[in-house]
Every structure is written in structure tokens, then in C-alpha cells.
């Protein structure tokens, strides 16, 4: 059993959604709770059982009431658990906190949450630790953590308990004082925050708050405390930088009590772990920022200790303090010191790389006392960061790539600020880039290649206007490309990104021209074929630019086509041929086509006659015909036509597009992915189930009826299918590209193994304006359980592109699996009735998988009748006595399960007696009945 649970819990944690399709969350939860209560289960396993509740409480307890019930159950497990299993008890507390917080019980002030809080407070207070036993301290520490988490999730919860918490912390001499300290400061911070939101609150309120030792907030006075669970501001940090506004509490200078609490916390801060100290200082900073009566100088005694620390979180919290208090705590000298310190830390040999990178980020968002720009999230070096100071952070080729890029970025920003294009610093950065390029040139690894191109982009991003370097870089890139044509995708990526991100910068045109130059000047004898395909890709991109003259490209093409005809044309490589045609096709669209007519025609003609691949020959001929026969306008109309309709992205495709590998071919041959679902399947209203024909036949005896009924199942495939009808409709909001869709192929994939694989379904077309096509989904169940089916589709849009789209999941509900009794059409009502009787009789004995069950709910007779009419009409079994008080329904669930219902009412309660030959269906049936009856109850009320 134990291993079974280990496996199941692992399966759940791997993919909770997948796991829950096979069982319902309620079932799984009740199984977990049952095991937890079971004394025979070891505590090791029980700890494991709690992990789904700790990690995914919202999945298991979807509503507040479910959460509350679960919490009550867990609490009873807690009270019954012997105290020696402290590990398990700690886990239980954690799970309880998760369940109560996440199911909104804490915010909803539920009874269970209140009980739990009481329990936690009682445990936290219970200092009667038997000597030598550390277990209870562990439990107390966990209880404190849970209290803090609840206060954090529901701010103000403990605002009336501040004195108690302060007392607990002060009395505690063991390490536990840390847990109390962190809890106290959080509660204090939240309480002060609430006061700032109360009109007219002042020193007296604050004093009362600090001396308060009432009960949990909501219990004391529902009205006095404004606790808005959705008040995100209260959960958020108050230190936002210069633009952040901190709500303030005006107390005047007299707030002795608060001052003494704060100084006691500060005094003992040294005793906390660095992580805790950071959290404590952060909260203290918030409190002091909210109460102007307390001068920020209270922190002064701690500052030196914090500034000298090697702990990243302690220095960070000091920076946040500076952010909050600026020059009221940090003088200009302090500021300069702190910045220098950050620079030192960013390259300190004993710190780890992530820490150094983080400090570098802190430099670029340094909280200045007098910021010039307003605190947006953009990176900007502080004024005090001079190029000389920053020079220790110059990048080097020995840096790892993240450090290198960060340093490069920082230097670029510093030099940009300086504004001197002739500075040595800029020269250094460029030299560095060149050094990287050398390494790439000498065969650097993939990582270095990627890093170099990122560095190059960064450099261009900041310094594209410095012509000298931009030109130089462009030349070096061309040279690099020629040595390593495999870098073509990287270079083209750089071209495209600079074009897109720096629209005013024409650097990329220069680079493309350079590339064209180096490619076309390669003596054709020295041209390896594998380079050629990269060259053609680059030339294709070059030909896209209207400003670049294509004559040399054509010369190059002509040379390789004619002079190396022995190898290239006779080899008939289809890919290379496509590359060639791709360039030609681009040139056909080039505005200077007129001047290049003859060389282009020559190339196309040569290809059409001599190329070794028929397809390429045909297409070359087609292009040649286009070129010679069509006017300019028509040519471009055939080849491009950016259709004006819609978003401008829509391009009509003609067959000729298939040829250009670079765009047309990939575009038309690629299956594009839509960002959102384009259409969906919505359930068509079910027609009436086909009624069995009502023929009076000879009455056979009962036994034989059932046998006869059962005999049908020996036929393979008998009554094993469920047909569900759906409308295929567009989703909203609609996308003009997808108004008219054709050749839709729907593909379904199952999320579990309850059903046989589904066949694909073809729908010829779908128009937005027209009536929605009906799609029949034929399911063949192995087990009649509800399921979720993933659906996707491939279709063709009006412009000829093929798309793949995900569709919203199809949820097959339990009731959709219901079928009427698959009796032979010749049967009479009486026979059906007999089958019902016989089956009921069999199931009543609960042999094998059979079982019976009872579901009750409060429903009047009329309401019950309406419910039966609505939900069970087609499954009703006629009663011999027409007007009996009892309805009988027989649900058939393919492939061979039955669910028999006898529905009756007594006084004001309705009884659903159930019998089934598959007891695993009962939980599903139960939740279905719960759903239908509760909806009726609601509508009635």
C-alpha cells in the first residue's frame, strides 16, 4: 500500500491536471483524508500524503466550504496524533495553513480558521518544554511560521495581539526568538499600515495598538478593522523608490512606545540569521517610513555593520533603506561610499558570479539621494559613476558570457552618459568586441558565438551613430562571414534585429552591401558548394533591400550558373536551385529591375535549359516568362500583392510562390501556429433520445428477458458508442484573417485511457457568416467516466496558408455518457420494466462490483418531478401502476454498465435509491446529483 501511495503522490505532483482527470479532486481528497486518519498507515507515508495538500490546496479544495471541511478534518488528525510524531505534526500545521489561506477561509473569517489560529497561538505560547526535548520547540517554531504566513496573507490578522507577540519574543531565550521577532515586526507593520488608512488616527491609537492584547482582529470588532482581502497594496512592499508614496501616520514626536519596540528589535537584530535580519530591516524600514515621528537615524547604529557585510541580502536591504530614506539617513559621503562599495562587490574575487551580477544590476538602479530622472525601471548609471570608477568593470574575454554582456552594457551606458565619442573607453569597448570576434574567427564554441553577436547588438544599440566603429564592425563581420559561412543565420538575425530595433539606423544596409561585396568577389573557383547555400541565403536577404543595387549579385549568379555548369547545373541540387531562384525572384520585385533585365533573363534562361532538376527548370521557365511577358505592375501583382484587406499582413499566395525557398516556400509549406484558438466546439442542444418503439409483443418470462438483453452484448460493438453533437464556431474576438476557413481537419487526443482513440474529423469549410457546421464526435468508452479531450486542428486560410491551432478542451460530462437502455427495437415497455426489475434484484445483493446507495436532498414533490422530467425523462422506465409515487430510471453507460435509480419523495426530502453494477460510478453519480439538485434548489429559492 505504501509504495502505491508513493507512486500516486509522485504522479499527482508531476502533473496534477493529468492526474485529476482520472479521478475527481473530491475523491482524491477524501482518499487522502481517509488514509491520514488510518492508524495503520505509517507516519512516513502520512507525511507524503500531506504534500498534495501543501502544494496544491486550491486544486483539492476549490471552495471555501471544502477548505473549511478539510481543515476541520486535518485538525482532528492533529489532535489525535501522539505528540512524539513532531515531524508529522509540523507538516500538518503547514498543510493546514495552506488549505485555510488558499481556500480563502482566513480572509473569509471562517470558524475553522479561527480555531486554527487559537491552536497556533496556544502552541506558540506554550513554553513548558520538558528539558532536553527539542521536538516541541520545532513545533513551536513551525507554529510561529504558520502564524506569520497567515498574517502575511491576511494582513492585520494579529493586529490586536502585538503586546502578546512582543512579550513572547522578549521572554524567549532559545533560538525561537527569531521566529517571534519576524512575526512581531510583520504584525506591527500591518497594524501601522491599517492605522494610516484610518482617518484621524494618531499617537493614541498607536499606543493602544501596541498595548493591545485582545483577540484575533475580526473576532474583536468586525467594524473597526478594514480588512480587504483584495487590498494588494497592503501586501506589497512600501519601498518603491523615489516615486513611491508611503502612507503616513501622524503621531507627532511622542511615540515612546513604538520607539522602544523598534529599538529592542534593532538591538537584537544581530542575533538573527542574515536572511531574517534582511526581512526584519525591510519591515522596520517600512514602519519608520510610515511614522514620521520616528527619525530614520534609529538605524544609524546598525549601518556600519551592514555596509561591511559579505551577505548579499544584508547589503541589499541597506540599499532599500537608502531608497526609502535617502538623505535623511545617508549623507552624500555615504552615498559615494555605497556606490564604490557596489563597484567593488561587482568584481570581488571571493563572491559568486550571480551575486556579482546582482550587484551590477544594483549599480544601474542605484537609489540616488537626488535622482535626476524619475524612477522608471530603465537602467541608468548614477551620476557618481564616472568612467574612471567604472573602469574596474571593463569586460574581458575571460568573463563568462552573462558577466561579459552585463559589463558591456554597463560600460556602454556610462560612456553614453559621458557623450564623448573619442574617449578611450569607447575604443576599449570596441577593441573588446574585436577581440571576441577574433575568438569566434578562431573557432570559438557556440556559447562564444552567441555571446559575440549579443555583444555586437548591444554595441550597435548604443553606438550605431559612431560611424567609425559601426563601419569597422561591419567590415569585420563581412570578413568573419567569409571565413565562416555557417554564421549566416546569426548575421542575418543581427541584420533583422538592428533593422527592427533601430529604425532610424541604416547600418544594416551597409552590412548587407558589404556582404554582397565579399560574396560576389569570391573567385568562383574557390567556392565550395556548402558555402554557396549560405551565400544564396544572404544574397536573398540583400535583394530585399531596395537601396542596394543587385547588379553584382546577378553577375555572381551568372558566374556560378554558367561557369561552373559542370558541377552546379548538372548536379541538379534542388535546394541550391531553389536558393538561386529565390534570389532571382527577389530581383524580379526589385525597383531597379529594368536595368537588370538582360542579365536576369540570361540567368533564368540558362537555368531553364541546363539545370539538372526538372522542378527548378520549370520554375525558371515560369519566371522567365513572367519577366519577358508581364508588365512591371502585373509582375509585382503576381509575385507579391500585399492584399490591402485586413491587417496588411495578409498576402495572397499564388502557386508561383512555392518556388522561393526563403519566403514563399517556407511560408506555404510551413504549418503556422495561431496564437489563440480560432474556433471551438460548442455543444449542440441534444435532440430527444430515440424512443424505443412501443410495440406490444408477447410477454416473455422475466428471466428470459434479461438473458435476451444480455445476449445482445455478445455482438462485438453493440451499443458501445456515444455520439455527441457539436457546432463548430468561431471564437471571439474574431480575426479578419480567419473569416473563411477551408479543409479543416480536427484532431483529438485523449487525456486518459477511459476511451478509445478518436478518429480525425474533416470539415470542408467554416464561414463566419454561415450556419455552423455540425460535428459528430463518436466516443467509444472503455470505462464510462467523464473526460477531457484535447482538440487541435489544421486548416487552410483564405490566403492559402496552412495553420495549426489549438482548440479549447472538450469536457465530456458524466451525464453525456448516459444512454437509454439499448433494448431491441421490438421490445415492449413491459420488457424494459422486467430488465429493470431483474437488474435491480441482482445489484441489490452487492456481489462483485455491484452496489447500492442512497442520495437524499431537500426537494418538494413538484420540484422533484420537474427535475426528473428535465434530466431523466428519456431514461424513465414505465411503471406498471402509472401514477405511482416513484420514478424509475435506467441509465445505460457504455460499454456495459448500468445505473438504476428509484426516485421518490417523502415529506420534503427526495430519495434517490441507486443501484449499479460498477461501484466506481457512484462518486461521479453523487456529484452529478448534487449538481442537478443544488441548481434546482437555487433556482427555486
Amino acid at each position: 500500500m505504501a509504495t502505491n501511495w508513493t507512486e500516486r503522490i509522485r504522479a499527482f505532483c508531476c502533473s496534477p491536471s493529468g492526474f485529476l482527470t482520472e479521478t475527481s479532486p473530491d475523491t482524491f481528497l477524501s482518499e487522502l483524508l481517509r488514509e491520514l486518519r488510518d492508524d495503520r498507515v505509517s507516519y512516513g507515508v502520512k507525511v507524503l500524503l500531506l504534500s498534495p495538500l501543501c502544494e496544491y490546496p486550491t486544486l483539492l479544495c476549490s471552495s471555501e466550504s471544502a477548505g473549511e471541511e478539510t481543515a476541520l478534518d486535518l485538525m482532528s488528525v492533529f489532535t489525535q496524533c501522539p505528540s512524539r510524531f513532531s515531524q508529522f505534526r509540523c507538516h500538518l500545521l503547514v498543510a493546514l495553513t495552506g488549505v485555510l489561506v488558499c481556500s480563502s477561509c482566513v480572509n473569509g473569517h471562517s470558524r475553522a480558521a479561527l480555531d486554527f489560529l487559537d491552536l497556533l497561538l496556544r502552541m506558540a505560547r506554550d513554553a513548558s518544554d520538558p528539558p532536553g526535548e527539542g521536538t516541541r520547540r520545532l513545533l513551536r517554531a513551525t507554529a510561529c511560521d504558520c502564524l506569520r504566513e497567515m498574517e502575511a496573507s491576511c494582513p492585520g490578522l494579529l493586529s490586536q495581539r502585538l503586546e502578546l507577540l512582543a512579550g513572547l519574543r522578549q521572554l524567549e531565550t532559545s533560538r525561537l526568538h527569531q521566529a517571534f521577532g519576524v512575526l512581531q515586526i510583520l504584525a506591527l507593520r500591518n497594524a501601522v499600515y491599517q492605522l494610516t488608512k484610518q482617518a484621524g488616527a494618531g499617537a493614541a491609537h498607536l499606543k493602544a495598538l501596541l498595548g493591545g492584547n485582545g483577540s484575533v482582529a475580526w473576532e474583536a470588532d468586525q467594524e473597526a478593522v478594514h480588512m480587504d482581502a483584495t487590498d494588494a497594496a497592503m501586501l506589497s512592499s512600501l519601498i518603491l523608490g523615489p516615486m513611491g508614496r508611503v502612507p503616513t501616520l501622524h503621531t507627532g514626536p511622542d511615540c515612546k512606545e513604538l520607539r522602544s519596540v523598534l529599538s529592542s528589535l534593532l538591538e537584537e537584530s544581530y542575533l538573527l540569521t542574515p536572511l531574517c535580519q534582511a526581512a526584519l530591516f525591510h519591515r522596520l524600514t517600512e514602519v519608520v517610513a510610515m511614522v514620521p515621528g520616528i527619525p530614520p537615524a534609529v538605524f544609524r547604529a546598525q549601518l556600519l555593520r551592514l555596509l561591511g557585510t559579505n551577505e548579499v541580502c544584508l547589503l541589499h536591504v541597506t540599499l532599500l533603506m537608502k531608497c526609502g530614506f535617502t538623505d535623511s539617513l545617508f549623507s552624500a559621503e555615504d552615498e559615494a561610499f555605497l556606490l564604490k562599495r557596489l563597484v567593488v562587490l561587482s568584481q570581488h574575487p571571493l563572491l559568486s558570479s550571480p551575486e556579482k551580477l546582482f550587484y551590477m544590476d544594483c549599480i544601474l538602479h542605484f537609489p540616488e539621494n537626488r535622482p535626476i530622472s524619475c524612477g522608471d525601471s530603465d537602467e541608468a548609471p548614477p551620476v557618481l559613476l564616472t568612467p574612471q570608477l567604472a573602469s574596474v568593470l571593463l569586460p574581458s574575454v575571460f568573463n563568462d558570457s552573462a558577466t561579459l554582456l552585463s559589463r558591456l552594457n554597463l560600460q556602454a551606458l556610462v560612456f553614453l552618459e559621458e557623450g564623448d565619442e573619442e574617449s578611450r573607453g569607447l575604443a576599449y569597448i570596441y577593441d573588446h568586441l574585436a577581440a571576441l570576434l577574433h575568438i569566434v574567427d578562431r573557432g570559438g564554441s557556440r556559447d562564444i558565438v552567441v555571446t559575440f553577436f549579443r555583444a555586437a547588438f548591444l554595441f550597435l544599440f548604443y553606438f550605431h551613430h559612431v560611424e567609425r566603429y559601426a563601419t569597422c564592425l561591419s567590415e569585420q563581420l563581412c570578413h568573419l562571414y567569409l571565413q565562416h559561412t555557417r554564421l549566416a543565420p546569426h548575421i542575418l538575425n543581427l541584420v533583422n534585429q538592428t533593422q527592427e530595433r533601430l529604425p532610424e539606423c541604416k547600418w544594416f544596409v551597409g552590412l548587407l552591401q558589404g556582404l554582397q561585396r565579399v560574396i560576389t568577389r569570391v573567385p568562383f573557383g574557390q567556392l565550395p558548394l556548402h558555402d554557396l547555400s549560405s551565400h544564396l541565403k544572404v544574397l536573398d536577404r540583400v535583394a530585399e533591400e531596395e537601396e542596394i543595387c543587385q547588379r553584382s549579385s546577378l553577375c555572381f549568379l551568372s558566374t556560378i550558373v554558367t561557369q561552373t555548369s559542370s558541377s552546379l547545373c548538372t548536379s541538379g541540387d534542388w535546394r541550391l536551385g531553389n536558393g538561386l531562384l529565390g534570389v532571382c525572384r527577389r530581383v524580379l520585385l526589385h525597383p531597379n529591375l529594368d536595368s537588370m533585365l538582360i542579365p536576369l533573363a540570361d540567368i533564368l534562361q540558362h537555368l531553364a535549359f541546363h539545370y539538372g532538376d526538372t522542378d527548378i527548370r520549370d520554375h525558371a521557365r515560369l519566371y522567365y516568362t513572367f519577366l519577358t511577358m508581364l508588365s512591371r505592375e502585373k509582375l509585382s501583382a503576381v509575385l507579391v500583392q500585399s492584399a490591402a484587406e485586413g491587417g496588411g499582413q495578409v498576402k495572397k499566395r499564388t502557386l508561383s510562390c512555392v518556388m522561393a525557398e526563403s519566403e514563399g516556400l517556407t511560408n506555404t509549406l510551413t504549418v503556422h501556429q495561431t496564437e489563440k484558438p480560432i474556433f471551438q466546439l460548442t455543444e449542440a442542444l441534444p435532440g430527444p433520445h430515440q424512443e424505443a418503439e412501443n410495440l406490444q409483443l408477447n410477454q416473455e418470462d422475466e428471466y428470459k428477458t434479461l438473458e435476451c438483453y444480455r445476449a445482445q452484448f455478445s455482438k462485438s460493438g453493440f451499443a458501445s458508442l456515444i455520439v455527441l453533437k457539436y457546432h463548430l464556431t468561431h471564437t471571439e474576438p474574431h480575426d479578419p484573417r480567419f473569416e473563411q476557413l477551408f479543409s479543416i481537419q480536427l484532431h483529438f487526443s485523449l487525456t486518459d485511457d477511459h476511451y478509445e482513440e478518436l478518429q480525425d474529423i474533416s470539415v470542408p469549410c467554416l464561414f463566419r457568416q454561415g450556419p455552423p457546421p455540425v460535428v459528430q464526435l463518436t466516443l467509444k468508452p472503455r470505462r464510462p467516466y467523464p473526460t477531457t479531450i484535447h482538440a487541435s486542428a489544421i486548416f487552410t486560410s483564405k490566403d492559402g496558408l496552412t495553420w495549426h491551432t489549438a482548440m479549447p478542451d472538450i469536457h465530456v460530462a458524466f451525464q453525456q455518457v448516459f444512454l437509454p437502455l439499448p433494448a431491441p427495437p421490438t421490445w415492449s415497455r413491459a420488457s424494459t420494466r422486467d430488465v429493470f426489475e431483474c437488474l435491480w434484484d441482482e445489484m441489490r445483493h452487492e456481489t462483485g462490483e455491484s452496489c447500492i446507495s442512497l442520495f437524499c436532498c431537500q426537494l418538494g414533490e413538484a420540484a422533484l418531478k420537474a427535475l426528473v422530467e428535465k434530466h431523466f425523462h428519456s431514461f424513465l422506465v414505465p411503471d406498471p401502476l402509472e401514477e405511482a409515487a416513484e420514478f424509475r430510471a435506467l441509465l445505460f453507460l457504455p460499454p456495459k454498465s448500468h445505473m438504476l435509480l428509484k426516485i421518490g419523495s417523502t415529506e420534503d426530502a427526495a430519495h434517490f435509491n441507486m443501484a449499479t453494477d460498477d461501484c466506481r460510478l457512484l462518486p461521479q453519480m453523487n456529484s452529478y446529483l448534487l449538481k442537478v439538485t443544488s441548481s434546482l434548489e437555487n433556482s427555486v429559492s
Binding site: C14, E55, A179, L272, N310, V344, L350, P354, A402
Partner: protein, 500 residues
């Protein structure tokens, strides 16, 4: 590939409330892993270019990366640190408005996350930083219960213990009213002792070229192991410099240091050298934790590197003429624990014949036949200069390692050395300056040691067309308490520099 993770539902709950409509749910494990690998550049290692992974626009803003989910949603900030086969990642809570995206520097949770991950890393990989597959698996398997102890609800507050499971807190004696520090897991009983060790590491790059400046730097660490009774005993350690010593810079201290003099912190390596700078004595009052710890670290600017090297390579017909000379500076004590020079050769075949003579020490060819190891022994000769001369023929059957930097006649020598009982900066801890104030006034025995070691001590053949500003920093060494009395045995296996 194994994945172990922990989700914190209550933190997620708060994230949902705070982020409102911009909330992005954390995807299931499988998807998360895939996205993280792409982001770290580790996916599809065999493809030279993958658009998602290699786009030049994208700069991984380590330590916080952004996972691009389907559509426009991104998961940020995912902190990820990787070392060897281990990747550790966490997603800190963004507790300020997430639109527009706040800078990392304004999220305290980021630095807390970094501290937390670093603690986990030390826990899993141990102090040595290297583990075999099985050791790693068993350590990773210990993570879930550990997490439930140090971080039960997603807010890491306790430090992660170094050795295995956290020790249960021991009860302080009832008579003590002093509060026990949370970072101290128990109380020490027994004879008191304080061990202090100073180790300095020197790094240098020498080009032997007028146009390129040689660089060197020194950094030191002071490690302590204190066994002193009492809940919060006070210990003071004082570092002193010789009369003309250059001041200690960039001092970082352990959080257990109770107070600091501002003058100790003011000297920093980014300032210009200033004659008036504070030059000690440096007093560090602290209350020690139980385990060994690094009390402080510093850097120092010494006027000369301890060894000056020159390296000449000349290509002749079939072989390579090599000549090396190393000169030990007179201020450095001529007594090594070990001193080795490594001469690796890249982008060449294996060595066939190495006809090389050395003026002192022993020469070995590595098993892989692409590295000369020159063991210089414990002492340089009286002249304080050693030389290596000879010819090497490369005609072995198989190709040696490649390196994009060391092509042609560019090559380097790497020196590994350790000099006990000396520091380059002259910094030392005087035995009498260690003060212990304990309630019981115990007998104090202090042991000190100091040592100088080298790390990335390189002499380049002057063909390098690179500017070198600094090397990436080494991982912090770990302190081994056993060795305190006899000088620190530094785990420094000879290995090629990190990146090469």
C-alpha cells in the same frame, strides 16, 4: 535528468492577489524545465543556431532569467544558478507592482533567493563542489525534508546547515538569560581554542610585452574556528600590517562581526592609492558561530608579483623551440610547499619528442601528451631564477585539445605554488592580539598560520592579441578545520584555467 521541486501555495496565493490581472501561473514541472533549459542556452546542444535560444536581441539578465511561456506571458524573475550537473532555481515573490516591470534591485526577495540558493548549492554539492552521480542523487533526495525545515512556507529564514540534516536546537542552560543567536545551533562545552588562518591568493597575467601591462592582484581571507563556551562569547581578532605595508582594501566581514570601525571600510581598490589611507591595526570583534567561518576577506595592492616569468616560443621546421625563465622576487620567502609550472599546448597533435632541459626541478609529460609539467620542488636555486629550454616535436597520432585563444604561437604557462607562513601583503594575526572574553575566562590557545598560494598565475607568450583586465573570480575555498594548525591545505588540484 531529475527534477525535484517544491511549490508554496500560500506565496502563490499572495502573488495572485498582488499581481491581479497580470498574474502568471507557474506551469507544470515538465514545461518549466524545458523553458528553463532553453533560457539557459542548454536546449538542443547539437544545433548551431536555434532562434528561440540564440537571438542576439536577447540578453540573459542573469541571475534572473525570464521564461517565455505561450503567447506573451512571461515568468519572471526566475533565479537560476548552475554548477556542474546541478541547476538550482527559484521564483521569488514580486512584492511591488509588476507593471511596468520593476528592477531586480527593488525586490528584496531576489537577494534573499540568491542567499537561499547558494545555501542549497553548498548543501547539495558539499564543500568540495564536486560530487559523483550517486552522492548528488542522495543529496537531492534529502532536499524535500530539508526544505520543510528551513523554509516550510516559502519564506527562507533559517540558514541551511552544512552537514546533512539540521541539528536539533539544544536547550540552553536555564540560568542563562542571554538570548541564543539564531545562527548558532548549539553551545560548545569544553576546552576553549581559537584558530585563525590567513591565506592570500595571488593572480597575475604577464605578457612580457612593453605595450601590454602585466597585471596582478592579491586577495586574502581570514578563516576562524572558535571553540569557546558561552551563549554569546566575545572574541576579537586583530590583523596587522608591517610598517610600510600597503593598506588592506575592500574588506568584507562575516555577519557575526558585532561592530566595525568606519576607517576599516573606507579603503577600496577603486580609489586611487592614497598615502593617508588607514593601515591598521584592523580590529574585528565578533561572537563566533560553532562552525568554521570566513571572518573577513580583503584585497591588497602589492608592488610586484612574486614571480616574474618569460615565455618564448619559436616555430622551427618540425618542432617548437621553447624557452622559459622564472624569477622569484627577493621579497618572497624561498620555501615552497609545492611549486609547479604547467605548459599546455593546444590545437596541435600530441607531443612525440620533448627534448627539454631544465636548470632546476623535474619535468614530466602528461599522460595525454599535450602538457609539460615542471615541478620546481621546495626551493628556487640561490640565484632565484630557473630556466627551461628545448625543442618539442608534435607528431603524435591524435589531436590534442583545442582552444580558440591559444592558436599559432600563442600559449601560456600556468604556475601553481604555495608558500607557507608568509603573506604577500605582510598581513598577519598576532597571537597576543586575539582576545577572548568569555564568562568562564578559559585558557586560550590560539594557532595562526598564513600562506600564500597562486591561482591563475599566468605568463603569456607575447603573441596574444587580447587585453586582459581581470580573470573571473574563483569559487571561495572551503575551510578545513583539521588543517588549521599546520597551515591550510588548500584543495587546489592542478587543472587548466576555468574557461580554457
Amino acid at each position: 535528468m531529475r527534477l525535484s521541486n517544491r511549490r508554496f501555495s500560500t506565496v502563490e496565493h499572495r502573488a495572485k492577489i498582488m499581481a491581479g490581472s497580470s498574474y502568471v501561473a507557474v506551469p507544470e514541472d515538465r514545461i518549466l524545465l524545458k523553458l528553463l533549459l532553453t533560457e539557459l542556452g542548454l536546449s538542443s546542444p547539437n544545433k548551431p543556431y536555434v532562434a528561440d535560444r540564440d537571438d542576439c536581441l536577447y540578453r540573459p539578465r542573469s541571475p534572473a532569467v525570464e521564461l517565455r511561456l505561450n503567447g506573451k506571458a512571461t515568468l519572471w524573475p526566475v533565479l537560476a544558478i548552475s554548477q556542474g550537473p546541478l541547476i538550482l532555481a527559484c521564483l521569488p515573490l514580486v512584492d511591488i507592482p509588476s507593471e511596468p516591470r520593476p528592477p531586480l534591485a527593488s525586490l528584496l526577495s531576489v537577494s534573499q533567493g540568491l542567499t537561499f540558493l547558494a545555501g542549497l548549492q553548498t548543501f547539495v554539492l558539499g564543500s568540495g563542489g564536486k560530487l559523483d552521480r550517486e552522492g548528488l542523487d542522495s543529496r537531492v533526495a534529502m532536499l524535500p525534508p530539508l526544505l520543510l525545515q528551513v523554509c516550510p512556507l516559502g519564506t527562507p529564514l533559517d540558514t541551511i546547515p552544512l552537514a546533512g540534516t539540521p541539528t536539533a536546537p539544544t536547550a540552553p542552560t536555564s540560568t542563562v538569560t542571554q538570548k541564543q543567536p539564531a545562527w548558532k545551533t548549539g553551545l560548545y562545552r569544553g576546552r576553549a581554542s581559537v584558530n585563525v588562518a590567513v591565506v592570500e591568493t595571488v593572480r597575475s597575467m604577464q605578457y612580457g610585452n612593453q605595450s601590454r601591462q602585466d597585471t596582478w592582484d592579491v586577495y586574502g581571507t581570514v578563516t576562524c574556528k572558535c571553540e569557546v563556551e558561552g551563549v554569546l562569547p566575545n572574541v576579537t581578532v586583530t590583523l596587522t600590517l608591517p610598517p610600510n605595508g600597503s593598506p588592506l582594501q575592500d574588506i568584507l566581514v562575516h555577519p557575526c562581526v558585532t561592530s566595525l570601525d568606519s576607517s576599516i571600510l573606507t579603503t577600496s581598490s577603486v580609489d586611487g592609492a592614497d598615502g593617508s589611507a588607514f593601515s591598521g591595526p584592523y580590529k574585528f570583534p565578533f561572537s563566533p558561530p560553532l562552525e568554521p567561518f570566513r571572518l573577513c576577506s580583503y584585497t591588497s595592492q602589492v608592488p610586484v608579483p612574486p614571480i616574474l616569468g618569460s615565455y618564448q616560443l619559436k616555430a622551427e621546421e618540425n618542432n617548437l623551440r621553447v624557452s622559459v625563465s622564472l624569477k622569484l622576487h627577493e621579497s618572497v620567502k624561498n620555501s615552497f610547499e609545492y611549486c609547479e609550472a604547467h605548459l599546455p599546448f593546444f590545437n596541435r597533435n600530441q607531443m612525440a619528442v620533448a627534448d627539454v632541459k631544465v636548470s632546476s626541478g623535474q619535468l614530466d609529460v602528461s599522460k595525454e601528451k599535450n602538457l609539460l609539467v615542471w615541478a620546481l620542488g621546495q626551493k628556487f636555486p640561490k640565484s632565484r631564477e630557473v630556466t627551461l629550454d628545448g625543442k618539442i616535436t608534435f607528431s603524435g597520432s591524435s589531436r590534442g585539445p583545442s582552444d580558440p585563444l591559444c592558436t599559432g604561437l600563442t600559449a601560456y604557462i600556468k604556475l601553481y605554488l604555495r608558500v607557507p607562513d608568509t603573506t604577500l601583503s605582510g598581513c598577519c594575526v598576532d597571537q597576543h592580539s586575539v582576545q577572548v572574553y568569555s564568562s568562564a575566562k578559559p585558557r586560550i590557545s590560539t594557532c595562526k598560520s598564513r600562506a600564500m598560494i597562486s591561482k591563475h598565475f599566468l605568463c603569456f607568450y607575447p603573441y596574444v592579441k587580447l587585453k586582459v583586465v581581470s580573470l573571473c573570480g574563483p569559487q571561495p575555498e572551503n575551510f578545513s578545520p583539521k588543517s588549521t594548525t599546520s597551515g591550510i591545505q588548500l584543495a587546489q588540484p592542478p587543472c587548466p584555467p576555468d574557461r580554457w
